[in-house]
Symmetry: C2
Subunit: 149 residues, 2 copies
DNA sequence: TTAATTAAAGATAAATTTGTCTTTTATTAA
DNA sequence: TTAATAAAAGACAAATTTATCTTTAATTAA
């Protein structure tokens, strides 16, 4: 569905958001450790997210990544996905036709329309805040329980 | 969503089905040309499909690929997807957690459940026959109109 | 039985994605 | 101003996916 880069990006954004609400900036090491991802690769993804204004970074002592309270409320999942994977997942043809539309539909066009629509709706409606609050309350998790998994 | 291999596999299966209903076997060249895919790569995918009993192949003069009338009716999209891409698309966690379940959900688990459910339902219900008949009637297409796209 | 045909199988190669490492730049605090 | 810290940037490497090419095996027809 999403690329690994995007999966890491979503998990990282949520983790950063859970800390920013407590006024804590987190470094790349904390992020990678908490979401169980390769640190240098995760750093690259953070650069994409900061360039796209999704998270904010600060260099130097006491620096790290954060998301403002307002941003946490306004940022939608689709912004993260779009920044990392682009819009193919909710716009492209299900079986890869370059030209696929109502006028020139592929064989699965109508079936996929519903699924893509639901996906787009979910991505558009879900805020970073919703996801972060679930993690803070302990209802949702960002990595596996067992370290050996 | 699906890998390119899977996209080609679905398109190829549909094309073969449209011809088998007319009693025509098609060669790998015809397949690649008709679905606008790289021939040798498509040949590899055909091997996966034949090994999984989704299509039948015949070597030698007059040989090629075909699907029996009964198979066209019984084969579901999910069998093709499963043979080529596995079950990750409709079983795996949306943001890549190895362990993600009702008891240990990731932040997007509940949102994804609906989408994956709809996808699984669609893949499980859609038969090769449905897709092939739409192509035969001219309602659906397997490649772009414009050769330069 | 031989030649032609066609898919299968195996070896390579290119492209993309994922992952790593090193150097540079910016910031803070002493 | 200097040292320490932490992200940014760039080069590189491994793994995976996509694509190609060559050889082999099976089948048919002459």
């Amino acid at each position: 569905m999403f690329s690994k880069a995007c999966e890491y990006g979503i998990r990282a954004s949520i983790f950063i958001a859970t800390n920013s609400s407590k006024g804590i900036r987190v470094g790349i090491k904390d992020v990678a450790k908490e979401i169980d991802s390769p640190e240098p690769f995760t750093a690259k993804i953070m650069q994409i997210l900061t360039k796209n204004g999704i998270i904010h970074s600060a260099k130097g002592v006491g620096g790290g990544f954060e998301v403002s309270d307002e941003a946490v409320k306004s940022i939608k999942l689709i912004q993260i996905v779009d920044a990392i994977d682009g819009d193919k997942i909710y716009k492209g043809c299900g079986i890869g036709l370059k030209e696929c539309s109502e006028d020139h539909p592929c064989p699965v066009h109508h079936e996929f329309k519903k699924i893509r629509g639901l996906l787009l709706e979910m991505l558009t409606k879900t805020t970073l805040e919703q996801l972060a609050s679930g993690v803070k309350s302990g209802d949702f998790f960002l990595k596996t329980l067992n370290i050996n998994d």
